[in-house]
Amino acid sequence: MALLSLTPFLSLAVFGLLATPAGFLRFRKSKLGLAPFVCILGLAIALVSTVWLGFTSPSPVSFGGLQVDLFTLFFSGVLLIVAIFVTVASLQNMREDPNKGPFFGLLLLSTLGMIVLAASMDLILLYVAWELMSIPTYALTAFRKKDPNSNEAAMKFFVLSALSSALIVYAISLVFGITGSTGLTAIASSLSTAGPDVRPFGVLAIVLFIVGFGVKMAVVPFHMWIPDAFEGAPVTIGAFLASGAKMAAFAAAFRVFIVGIFAFNVDFYSTFAIVAVVTMSVGNVAALMQKSFTRLLAYSSIAQAGYILMALATPFTTTSVPLGLAGGLFHVLNYAILKTAAFIAAAAVATKLSVTDLDSFNGLSRRMPQTSLSIAVIFLGLAGVPPLNGFFSKVMLFTGSIYSPYSWGGYLALAALINSGFSMSYYGWVIKRMYFDEPGDESRIPEPRIYMVVLWAATILIFVIGLYPDPWIRLVQSAAAALVGSRGS
């Protein structure tokens, strides 16, 4: 049954529409209402069906522009794990909010947009999915109506994000003008025979695609909205933007560039390499100078985007296993888990101390031992310390870059390695503050139980991926092969 491949999409759509009216119903006298449970049910059905589809029918099923293959299912799994973590954590900070229905409904619909984005093989569908992902996140960022920080964050986020959508539409218009088609495989076959007279339009389209996706992926110099948006948005939505929306933008970029634009004989690989090096350097240096924990996380997420961009800077032939691309996908998985958990840890500290400046982290291990332990594990994972999960994806990315056909591949890997070592300075500095500095106030702080459930689940996942990387590496390799296989013949 080919239609069964649509289960994850349909489940999110149906439960997303149900969650809003369900917000008005009460559930067993609990204060939470029915909406969060509808949301979790929808996400769980989607995740189970994604995993089930991945095991039973890994061959690609195509519905016009929507293609369900292992690449789609991989991103669907990653984004659904992020969405489940965010939803469960939101049970804590949305407890008192009267508008739970819209919140959880928008969360589900935005997740649906992200998954469709990973599945889209047609630029019309890609754009619709892009907006389905973006528009709910504007509303979610502004969800605290009376909080000026939330509003300001939403406005800054909206302005840049609307610009990115507009530029993507312009790029689509140029590609459509050159090729007369919106399907990615048709675009690729038409671009491979394109004459030199359309070359400037093609180059402009590529630049606009890089800028448009780059705003959402938060690559330098389009990263300015990230720290403001993450700091002002409701805490769990910060996690959702950092891991969900950003990784979905990477999925779209992988699809567009590796399935469609690659056929056009323009060297965008070195552009991505330069952007990657600048992004990771700026992110790491700026992170070192931050005084607030959420802003430090925001800049570290910019740096991590630089590592993932290395996957787009590594060209490959269809005959070999695309090691750099597989490493990029592995880093997407690891980054999504690590960053979601990091933001939820920040939320746990922020709800109890109501500040997130780094001075309040002094001696935190004595006040909030579970949170401190998970922050330490997450930061070591982000820095890429073995045997945690970030190590293997970085090794794959760097090795893939060394084996790239370009002579600068080795220098790119070296720059990333230096950056990776440098990032240890601020990660280690926070860990040092938590474990070796004297707290101003010794009193033990009760840790919010729901956040702890998510943090323990994420920490266990980090160790599982780090200690048993083999099945995960096979997964990302087959996802990368599926992406390359979705190129037209």
Binding site: I124, M155, F158, A166, G177
Partner: protein, 102 residues
């Protein structure tokens, strides 16, 4: 001048005005205008490419209907955020909104 290149020239000028507005203006409404200009430049492009192609293809018209509808939705959400901000701050100048810094 043949029709396709004149349409494209107008569209590039609209794109340029939009990007100029985005980089120089700090009023949120003006920025929204600039973004809409870029959307319309793209729409004009798509329509011209689809209509003046030989033979004409209908995919472009479908795509433009989608972009018009979605851009309108985006503008609606954006305007509601601007209204929220102006209620709280009596100010929609982006350069004067600076609570979040550090």
């Amino acid at each position: 001048m043949e029709p396709l290149s004149s349409f494209f020239a107008v569209s590039v000028i609209l794109l340029g005005i939009g990007i100029y507005g985005l980089t120089t203006k700090r009023n949120a409404i003006r920025i929204l205008f600039s973004v809409e200009l870029i959307y319309n430049a793209a729409n004009l492009n798509i329509i011209a490419f689809a209509r003046l192609r030989n033979p004409p293809i209908v995919t472009g018209q479908v795509l433009v209907l989608f972009t018009i509808a979605l851009a309108a939705m985006e503008a609606a959400v954006g305007l509601s955020i601007i209204i929220l901000v102006s209620r709280l701050n009596a100010e929609i100048d982006l350069s004067k909104l600076s609570k979040l810094k550090g």
